[in-house]
Symmetry: C2
Subunit: 344 residues, 2 copies
């Protein structure tokens, strides 16, 4: 899922996203709650209509952003009192409020409001946090009453397998329409993440969607799917695009590089995205170096198309019951593209 | 002509421009000469191919930008020695070099390299300047040798009718494929501009294109066409768009205004541009307030579509030999839109 934090996948319209093959996007509850406000969006016909996107939208619960506020957020059993990062105004978000916001936004998939366990955390703190998350998940389930919206529960438990098991058991006991694995990719080693994921994913029902939140690199997607994950979201393709980093099957390409200055070839000769169909590396480099807005857009299109195709190829492999064909190069050498013979 | 300074009409692709009805765009020789360099563009197949625009392109001569550099530019009979505003590097542009650059870029219409007379200027200084411009225009004509490119001459003469006549006579004597009126809209009163234009336009052959450079407001377009002008260029629609100012038949609309916060209606209910077809004022305001890149794009689309339609309506009136239907409100009250009943 491309991320559309403020009711827009940055720089892109619906048509761009469809051309990239996007099927669903993510909206950020916390941001939309503060600006323009969920009641404003509701008045305007909901988030789909507001941003002109008629395919599915998943909204996060706002929890992750709220807890990222640090000292600006105060938590108790009831919920979280926070100061807006925009204007310092005070707000309160609880499980019930989060459900209300997500329903007003009109998301197709809502997420339960929980406490993302800080990392690192002791076993004791992690347990306390997951128990609070379970109580909040139950309150979300009880207050959720939108017939057009499904609700996903989130498994927490930090980096402790026994706590992941305990959380999964409690969340499954409450029962949701789909299940997410939260609290990973928060600074832990990649090996730890995979170990926890390998432990956690099989605890979730195979017949329901499994969503790994806030992940990740192309390699993470390969690993995640291998372990049974169906859905991902990450700002990586769009944020990298805005920094001039483009994803290609052989790694990452820095479009600012002087070597691209006269390169008439596309970013990836095998890519069929709008950007690769019509624009050269030389042009993209020129736009980026010149601080042109169009650079952000064309780069974002390419990266989202890359991610969508990456997942489509994985689905194809699964359909044919064969090993994944795609290999992501070791990240450490991922920024060096091989010599590339440009056309023209 | 929408202005595409750095090989892009800011934030827009070819498809956006076509949807707006654009038939021709302007590129800036000075900017492209410095970055990425006209030889780079030439190597990549010319400006059309570089920026993926297959309709006509007019390039200015670079003169206006060069003389805007002030102390960074030194002028003599041969040409102008200048320091780049990007990196301070030294360059030399003469009439011959300007022709060479514009030919390398592959513009469909090139402009002669002349000296835009400073404003205000005495009769004596203006005369000196126009005589230099005439000598340079002749050198442009003599060195221009691109069979695929037509060349326009530029009438100077500042705010003096006798000098405008003298310049027109000399430029016509050299003979060009079309003629531009330069050196207007440079800080003079609107009344002076119109008086000079009314004097100058009829001096130019009716059967060839007449182009008023760097102009202007919707009212300027009405006035200019009335006086016989066929072509205009201006950054006004795109620059205003990026500042949140949108053109509507009843004036200008500031999309940042709080009154638009919950307005589900389009910018202009009678506008059929992409932005008005799919997005509400409330959404555009939200994007702008949130510093979203998409705001620049959607606003630019609307403003360019407005300008293109403005001119299309004028052409229609001319075709039917009737008075112009369009009226532009007095600029001083142009920012107040009337009460507007939004649909939902």
């Amino acid at each position: 899922m491309p991320v559309g934090t403020q009711a827009t996948v940055k720089a892109l319209t619906k048509e761009d996203l469809l051309d990239c093959g996007a099927q669903i996007i993510l909206g950020n509850t916390y941001h939309l709650f503060l600006r323009p406000g969920h009641r404003v969006v509701e008045t305007l016909g909901g988030l789909h209509r507001f941003m002109n996107w008629d395919r599915p939208i998943l909204t996060d619960s706002g929890g992750f952003q709220v807890f990222s506020l640090g000292d600006l957020a105060k938590i108790d059993e009831e919920g979280v009192t926070l100061k807006s990062h925009l204007d310092g105004s005070t707000h309160f978000i609880s499980p019930e409020v989060s459900m209300e916001i997500q329903q007003a936004l009109g998301a197709d998939i809502a997420m339960t409001f929980d406490e993302p366990t800080p990392h690192p955390a002791t076993h004791e703190d992690t347990l306390k946090s997951l128990l609070l998350s379970t109580r909040w998940a139950l309150r979300c389930k009880n207050s959720h009453n939108s017939p057009d919206q499904i609700l996903f529960g989130i498994v927490q438990g930090g980096m402790y397998k026994d706590l992941r098991s305990q959380s999964a058991e409690q969340i499954l006991e409450i029962g949701f329409d789909g299940y997410a694995v939260g609290g990973l990719s928060v600074g832990e080693d990649k090996g730890v993440m995979l170990e926890i994921l390998e432990h956690t994913a099989p605890l979730l029902p195979a017949g329901q969607a499994r969503y790994l939140m806030g992940v990740g690199t192309p390699q993470d997607l390969l690993d995640g799917v291998r372990m049974g994950i169906d859905m991902f979201d990450c700002v990586m393709p769009t944020r990298n695009a805005r920094n001039g980093t483009l994803f290609v099957p052989w790694g990452k390409l820095n479009i600012r590089n002087a070597r691209h200055k006269t390169d008439a070839g596309p970013v990836d000769p095998d890519c069929s995205c709008y950007t690769c169909r019509y624009y050269s590396r030389a042009y993209l480099r020129h736009l980026f170096i010149s601080n042109e807005i169009l650079a952000m857009r064309l780069n974002s299109i390419h990266n989202i198309a890359f991610y969508q195709r990456w997942m489509a190829n994985i689905r194809e492999d699964i359909k044919h019951d064969r090993p994944f064909k795609q290999v992501w190069p070791d990240e450490s050498c991922g920024t060096e593209e091989p010599d590339y013979e440009s056309g023209v």
